[in-house]
């Protein structure tokens, strides 16, 4: 490896004098490195143009055969100029502008681009033909992993260093009336006329300047470009984005744009909802397939004109121009004007190129008449491909027109929201194309306006709208073009990125892979970086030849997003991952709580020692922040009907001031959620749900109300975070709370399973329920959330002498397990129906209806269902891990441990588990297979609760 900057390259010797349309700033020179050697460039140069100006011809080695490759298209689709720039792989060097200090390297070459060891693959080429890997390395099977490792070494790509920088990416939405994809003459004209018709227009151009092919054209072209660009820039209703791409079109004109070259961010993804999409993508020049067509020095006419006229780079000294169209003729004229010797081979007069030869680059060209011309540049201008990707994504597949030798959009299949203009739509003079685009721009604005009116009518109090039918845009004509796809069906490369030759295509067809799709999959033709923009039509032509069908019958493969590849960073953009905090969170953080991520909530898992937290609750008093518990405010005379429908138990007789536990099941009888609901006033209830079920239960309840019982008078308001919820638990909880509240806490005045409202620590409108998930005397306080931190701190301060300590989610899990309370989703699963969860006493089948009732009735009648049981390991030194399987003598699975902890209160391990029905009787001994492979024995307990099964402690 050469030290950076150690060698310098002499000044560009292929740079021409000033050109009228050039885009480089000759007043400044910047430096960059190419394979360790310092080169110079002018601002405006692409990496490829700067290297070409320095006489570099070879940019890369090919995928399979490591053949030398140079510039072909000199734009973003160039398969020969994909390079590593710093830590960025696969940079399109014919698009990316040079920046000072750039470190540019060729990819996948070793030890160097010039002397690449894997170039020996060229010799083995005839054996590496298409599908070779399907036919080899089959036996012996044990050697395949080794073969695979070798194959992976051949991956043709750049690299992502593990320490790649992580730049900042941006994202935004946009709502243009008309979005024009492509800033050539048609796109400019369409944008102008749409804006003048009153539309908000977004004009997006992939390249660095507006103007499209006018940029490398003659004086008239440049004049038209100047006029159109000036008019667009003066039009306030047009937002212009250059170096940006419309990467994809989705349903309802939802467009993905990537904007590059921004000052503050790496790239920006714009998600645009366009009224009308105007596709003005132009035409892509199609390469010709002939032997030697991949040699450095073989270029498309557009590539040559870009190099000459935009970058003032002379691409060769002696050129053969193989032309079938005026653009090719113009390239020949441009070359001559730049002092290049030119021999024209005119396809319109039946002459063709059949072969290019040379070592490391073109040295000679052979023609169909057998003649041979020495040249270092071979230019082809044999036809065009309409890059209809955005139209394909709109559901319109193009149709083949032999007279024009290309696929063209099918206007009949294009949705109203999409209009094609310019070369992609058809041919014409400059003036015809501009006039057509102007008409299309006006119609695009009209359609967008009509759609906006329809959307406005749909909004609340929106004005009425009369739909306006879309008016057709007159079609463009097509210019005759000879059909030229390949010199001989056996020579040359079809896909330069994938190293797929014409012969590979023929072989694939012969082997039975005889449709475009199968050929694509078997040979990988069109699967590379350009996604078929250069390759698809030539591939189809060869398949057609090999099958004896026409190109139209054969059909092209589908173009899918992306139009050009876009970075993962741009797609990801800024992160939107909502998190939720309780009002007490600052206290938890200040007191070193270990955070637990529970869905969107961040909660304290513990404050250092969960076992101590458990003991403190059992012996004294502890408080836990249970704010995430779901809370729904229910108002209206029909609330009991809703409760009866949602819960499996009965609710008609719940008195004011009373609280009841309930379980909800889905319509298949599977346990959905549980919680308590209290009656605060005649027509006012407060329901609690599990914290993860809060949203689900709310939507479930609304579904019943809105779709099944709209006649019921009930209003549901989610109030989960209107309250900070604090559970005060332990034998001393009454003593503590009495110091802070005006509510009479005496057991006779405020007994177990009751609810009261009152003042706590000076805060009005608090709700207190006396319930006991922990099994201790406990009060669950629901405090207006703004005062949550105040009340928490008041409790901690006031309870200091009682030994108050906070406890976290882990201690709560242990406390509830000691009491045998199940957790929905942990001790139950996606098939656990209510009776399996041991809810026999809760389910009331004599209610006329409730969610899931029929399945529960059948479950009860059938019996024989898995049961949730309490389990106690006989060996108290073993705590079976959760998810350990319970197995029968024959090794069959008959259950599993769903919850398991060492009980700090009891001093031995305790579990809950699901077991098959016949093993659920108390006293049954079961074998548990532990994670380490050993077995241990557990015994089914009489109750789920391991501690205070009678529940006396919570009723005191």
């Amino acid at each position: 490896m050469t030290r950076p900057g150690a060698r310098r390259r002499a000044a560009a010797d292929h740079r021409l004098g000033a050109r009228p349309g050039e885009v480089i700033d000759r007043s400044r020179t910047i430096e960059f490195r190419w394979n360790g050697v310092t080169h110079t460039a002018h601002p405006g140069d692409t990496i490829a143009s700067a290297l070409a100006a320095a006489g570099v011809r070879m940019f890369a080695r090919s995928y399979k055969y490591h053949r030398p490759r140079g510039l072909l298209t000199a734009d973003i689709f160039d398969p020969g100029a994909i390079l590593q720039v710093g830590d960025e792989p696969n940079v399109r060097a014919a698009h990316r502008l040079v920046e000072p200090g750039m470190d540019v390297r060729s990819q996948n070459t070793w030890p160097s681009l010039r002397y690449d060891v894997k170039a020996v693959n060229q010799l083995a080429g005839r054996f590496l033909a298409t599908g070779f890997y399907y036919k080899t390395f089959i036996k012996p099977e044990r050697l395949w992993p080794t073969y695979e490792k070798v194959l992976r070494q051949f991956v043709h790509a750049g690299e992502v260093p593990p320490d790649s920088e992580q730049p900042y990416f941006d994202k935004r939405y946009a709502h243009p009336d008309v979005l024009v994809a492509g800033g050539g003459p048609a796109g400019l004209a369409a944008a102008l006329s749409a804006a003048r018709a009153g539309a908000r227009v977004m004009l997006v151009e992939q390249e660095h300047q507006l103007g499209g092919h006018l940029r490398w054209g003659d004086a008239d072209d440049l004049r038209l470009r100047d006029e159109l660009v000036a008019a667009v820039e003066a039009e306030a209703g047009i937002e212009v984005l250059t170096d940006s791409v419309v990467a994809a079109r989705y349903d309802d004109n939802w467009l993905a744009l990537v904007q590059r070259g921004l000052p503050h961010v790496a790239e920006r993804l714009i998600k645009a909802r366009a009224g009308t999409l105007v596709v003005a993508a132009g035409l892509i020049e199609r390469p010709y397939v002939f032997a030697g067509n991949d040699l450095p020095g073989v270029m498309l006419s557009t590539a040559v004109r870009r190099l000459l006229n935009l970058y003032a780079v002379r691409p060769g000294r002696r050129a053969v121009v193989f032309t079938a169209n005026p653009e090719g003729d113009a390239a020949a004229a441009d070359l001559r004007a730049a002092g290049v010797d030119v021999v024209e081979v005119d396809a319109r007069h039946g002459r063709t190129v059949v072969r290019a030869t040379g070592r490391g680059g073109v040295e000679a060209v052979e023609l169909s008449d057998g003649s041979r011309i020495e040249a270092d540049l071979l230019v082809t201008a044999i036809g065009w491909t309409a890059p209809t990707s955005l139209l394909n994504m709109s559901g319109a597949n193009p149709v083949y027109r032999p007279d024009a030798a290309r696929f063209v959009p099918d206007p009949g299949a294009t949705p109203d929201g999409v209009i094609a203009v310019g070369g992609i739509a058809g041919d014409g003079t400059r003036e015809e194309l501009v006039a057509h685009a102007e008409a299309a721009g006006r119609e695009a604005a009209a359609r967008a306006s009509a759609l906006a009116a329809v959307h406005a009518a749909g909004r609340p109090d929106g004005p009425a709208a009369t739909p306006r039918p879309a008016e057709p845009v007159p079609a463009l004509g097509l210019r005759h073009h000879p059909e030229l796809f390949y010199a001989t069906p056996t020579g040359g490369f079809v896909d330069m990125s994938e190293d797929v030759s014409a012969k590979d295509i023929l072989t694939a067809v012969k082997e039975g892979y005889d449709s475009s799709e199968l050929v694509k999959r078997y040979t990988t033709a069109t699967m590379g970086p350009a996604q078929g923009k250069l390759e698809t039509v030539n591939t189809v032509a060869l398949v057609a030849h090999a099958t004896g069908k026409t190109i139209a019958e054969t059909g092209a493969t589908t173009w899918r997003p992306m139009y050009t590849p876009i970075t993962l960073g741009a797609l990801a953009g800024r992160k939107f991952e909502p998190v939720r905090h309780s009002p007490v969170q600052p206290w938890h953080e200040a007191h070193k709580a270990t955070p637990l991520i529970a869905g969107q909530w961040i909660r304290p898992e513990h404050y250092g020692d969960p076992a101590a937290e458990v003991r403190n609750v059992r012996a004294g008093v502890g408080i836990i922040d249970v704010t995430p518990i779901g809370k729904l405010d229910l108002q209206g005379p029909d609330v009991p009907k809703l409760l009866n429908l949602l819960y499996v138990n009965k609710w008609s007789k719940l008195g004011i001031g009373r609280v009841r536990y309930g379980v909800m099941c889905a319509e298949d009888g599977v346990v959905l959620d549980d919680g308590v609901t209290g009656r605060l006033a005649e027509n006012h209830y407060l329901m609690s749900t599990t914290s993860s079920g809060a949203g689900t239960v709310w939507e479930w309840a609304e579904n019943w109300l809105q779709t099944e019982h709209p006649e019921w008078q009930i209003h549901i308001t989610p109030v989960t975070t209107a309250f900070a919820s604090i559970n005060v638990a332990g034998p001393k909880s009454r003593e503590l709370l009495a110091r802070l509240t005006d509510v009479d806490l005496d057991n006779t005045a405020f007994g177990y399973m009751n609810v009261r409202t009152g003042t706590i620590a000076g805060v009005d409108n608090c709700v207190l329920w006396r319930i006991g998930f922990t099994g201790e005397l406990s009060y669950e306080l629901h405090v207006p959330a703004s005062y949550g931190l105040h009340v928490w701190e008041a409790l901690m301060a006031t309870g200091a002498d009682l030994g108050i300590a906070p406890f976290g989610v882990e201690a709560q899990r242990i406390l509830r397990l000691e009491k045998g309370h199940f957790i929905v989703g942990q001790d139950t699963d996606g098939l656990t129906k209510a009776y399996s969860a041991g809810l026999d006493r809760v389910v009331k089948l004599d209610k006329s209806d409730f969610a899931g009732k029929p399945e529960l009735a059948w479950q009860a009648a059938r019996g024989e269902y898995p049961m949730l049981v309490g389990l106690r390991p006989l060996d108290t030194s073993v705590i079976p891990e959760e998810a350990s399987q319970i197995i029968s003598d024959g090794g069959y699975i008959v259950g599993r441990i769903t919850s398991s902890r060492l009980s700090p209160t009891l001093g031995h391990p305790i579990c809950l588990g699901q077991v098959d029905a016949h093993l659920a009787d108390p006293g049954t001994r079961l074998t548990v297979r532990l994670r380490n492979g050993s077995d241990t024995t557990v015994e089914v307990t009489a109750e789920h609760a391991h501690f205070d099964p009678e529940g006396e402690r919570q009723r005191v």
């Binding site: 080899t136 099977e141 590849p565 970075t567 741009a570 991520i597």
Partner: protein, 432 residues
């Protein structure tokens, strides 16, 4: 069911040239390609013993095993597009057997075993890369599910265990296993036999073998109707106006399984959802393991070509549209960068979608139906490709013997009426 390998004419079995390094050299030296067609075109006959609807891996594998294991070769496979054009060519080619239920684990383990020897059995390199498969857990409950799966797997003899973040980092150095992320990685279910395969090659390998046994593969042949007389199938009608008769018709379609079953009046507990996938440009190999995150709805692997292949869970609403969405690639990119932040400059090359027939219990529907002679191998959700070989083997046995073999006994259509759902739904939301 008659054994019928003795047809005259185009249905006849033939000897194919074997693929090997030596044959490759021989063909390379010869002028042009000396390879025979891997599969041929035939004019459809008027009658077959078995008609299989769907030329994907399930249909072709069923044909292959009917011929190979049961000597039944008078078979037509009818494919409305080209072979492998549906789910078989659109999935992300991940194989694994670390399921949650014993019936699921047993079934998919058989499939992995068949895949391990498939290249040799079919004489077609399907490039099964058993590089290991890990399913990340980002919270307690998914970690518990990973343990649950691991324990069930171990009891079924499947190599599967839960590993910690340090071990994950060793296997995937690019992974951010720090605890400061929004979705910290707590562990992973690691399954060494899992991996990826060349999905098209599996299709072609089965097609070539079936063809060699005399099976007729009719591409671009869409079934538009199925004839039933006295509650028994008698044949099918195709879009080009043919009627082809057969006493046995097998629905091996994905995405269209409801529509095919509707033709005989058999209702299905199926909803069709698009499932999207995407691929990046290649970079030099850096990821040797298949990585799945259920919480982030993402799975990622790197092919031997260097591309990253991504997938997610099915789209949020039922549809037959395969146009894909930006939402999907945005979410995917965000989640991949959450896992491996250094990849932000890699570029997404292409996205696509396939159709998944989701069932209520995330398990397939296989076997007999109330209509005699009409068999189904459908409801494959997001796991159909993994099950290709075992499904073909089991369906072939089911057709040959007229009753489902033990390995698919739990997957019958009748389970939904009887309320005996399979418990796979208990596993993480993403089934890859």
């Amino acid at each position: 069911m008659s054994r019928n390998g003795q047809h005259d004419g185009p249905g006849r079995a033939r000897r194919t040239s074997r693929y090997s390094a030596w044959s490759l050299v021989k063909n390379g030296l010869g002028a042009g390609s000396g390879w025979e067609r891997a599969f041929r075109h035939h004019t459809p006959k008027e009658t077959y013993d078995v008609i299989i609807i769907g030329g994907g891996v399930h249909g072709l594998a069923t044909a292959h095993y009917l011929a190979e294991n049961h000597g039944i070769t008078d078979i037509a496979v009818l494919e409305k597009s080209y072979i492998g054009s549906g789910g078989s060519g659109r999935n992300t080619a991940i194989l694994r057997s670390n399921y949650l239920t014993p019936e699921g684990v047993r079934f998919y383990d058989r499939s992995v075993k068949l895949y391990e020897h498939l290249a040799a059995d079919l004489n077609f390199n399907v490039m099964f890369s058993q590089r290991g498969h890990m399913t990340l857990a980002h919270n307690d409950s998914s970690l518990r599910t990973m343990h649950w799966r691991a324990e069930v797997n171990k009891l079924q003899g499947v190599d599967s265990s839960v590993i910690d973040p340090a071990e994950i980092k060793k296997l995937v150095p690019y992974m951010d296993v720090s605890s400061s992320t929004r979705y910290p990685i707590l562990g992973a279910l690691y399954h060494p036999p899992g991996g990826i395969i060349r999905h098209d090659a599996v299709v072609w390998g089965y097609a070539r073998s079936a063809d060699a046994h005399g099976v007729h593969i009719h591409q671009k042949t869409e079934v538009v109707g199925i004839d039933v007389a006295s509650n028994r199938v008698t044949g099918v009608r195709t879009a080009d106006g043919r009627r082809i008769s057969a006493p046995v018709v097998v629905n091996c379609t994905a995405g269209w399984s409801t529509l095919i079953s509707d033709m005989v009046g058999v209702d299905m507990p199926v909803q069709t959802f698009p499932l999207q996938a995407a691929v990046t440009e290649p970079v030099k190999p850096f990821l040797d393991t298949v990585v799945v995150s259920g919480t982030l709805h993402t799975y990622v692997s790197q092919t031997d070509r260097g591309e990253l292949v991504f997938g997610a869970s099915v789209d949020p609403f039922a549809s037959y549209s395969t146009r894909g969405s930006l939402d999907f690639v945005e979410g995917l990119a965000g989640h991949v960068l959450e896992l491996m932040p250094g990849l932000s400059k890699m570029r997404l090359l292409r996205q696509w979608a396939g159709l998944c027939d989701m069932t209520p219990d995330y398990s397939p529907i296989m076997g007999l139906t109330p209509v005699e002679g009409f068999f189904v191998d459908v409801g494959w959700g997001t796991y159909g490709f993994k099950a290709g070989p075992v499904s073909g083997e089991a369906m072939a046995a089911c057709i040959a013997h007229g009753k489902p073999p033990e390995i698919i006994a739990a997957f019958g259509l009748e389970r939904f009426d009887e309320g005996r759902l399979v418990g796979e739904k208990g596993a993480a939301a993403v089934g890859h």
